[in-house]
Symmetry: C2
Subunit: 209 residues, 2 copies
Amino acid sequence: MPIYDISLPITPNLPTWPGEDKVQLTQTSSIKEGDLANVTHVSMGVHTGTHIDAPDHFLGNGVGVDQIPLDLLIGPVTVLHFPACEIITADMLRAAEIPTQAKRLLFKTRNSKYWAEGEIEFQGDFVALNPDAAQYLVQRGVEVVGVDYLSVAPFDDPVPTHKILLQANVLVIEGLDLSEVPPGDYALYCLPLKIAGADGAPARAVLIG
Amino acid sequence: MPIYDISLPITPNLPTWPGEDKVQLTQTSSIKEGDLANVTHVSMGVHTGTHIDAPDHFLGNGVGVDQIPLDLLIGPVTVLHFPACEIITADMLRAAEIPTQAKRLLFKTRNSKYWAEGEIEFQGDFVALNPDAAQYLVQRGVEVVGVDYLSVAPFDDPVPTHKILLQANVLVIEGLDLSEVPPGDYALYCLPLKIAGADGAPARAVLIG
């Protein structure tokens, strides 16, 4: 079965949230300069690229990314496609006829084109979920929500959507590249770094199926 | 089926290779101080904790961790237990009667006790594979080798074991915590960060089964 890598490459060009530092990659040991091995050092915010939000990120409750149960991050997932919208609402989700048993949903939107096209500037007009969409997903018992830009919430209103999801223990995956993935059902494996107590962590995420 | 998390927690206390900086976690945004969200920044070597070595690490050939095929990192794996040895040799591997079809092998040794006990000092006397063991694994067609300390090679002779494995395109996973894992057969999911062109990357690794 094909494996889709839905993770963003981590490079110094990766767009970061306004005010956040860019990724820094530094070579600290070099074979060409006589060292035994090449060694790189990475410096970045934990919400860089493809990443997980821990509850502590917006709730300030001390629940870190290392406390997220791994069985949430592994299992059946449905990729939904909303190709032509500016924001995802509860009404749009009702109309989408999401399978009743779906516990993990990834939202493919026009955002994925930014990654496919190698856009390096931050895009403030990304598609996100408005608060009523978040509330609808909580009521349906959805446990994992993934989006294809750097925030699940609209740029100009970041708090409500995040809080509704995180307070309901819905896992939020941000910064996915779904450009190559047809809508449908897959197995998700999304493994964030186990950074002790952190409000998030960069992750590698794949779809199989 | 149970999921074993065989990844080390990333903390400022994590032992690092002599000469390498410790992990730094810095809070760059704080709800308590009036910011909208908590945000942490991480700074570390890419060979920190549980991680993958890319061929470029010891070969200097430019083959980075983002070029490692994901199907190597996902699939059946066998955990072998060598509880009472100081180094793993080809003779010991021959005697271990490794299943003929085994393509992925993880070596559980006394090293895992360091992680179970929370040892924070680097341990130079860790158990590793000597070059003839590496050569034996290559000849058998093994494709993934994982170890439970920070290097697959002995501390005082790091180059040969690494070169033999990496030149044969054997994937090397280092810094696993196998203390809770009984020897036997599992499914491995080891997903390193997709750091473009880097000589390695920190990873989250789990065993299922």
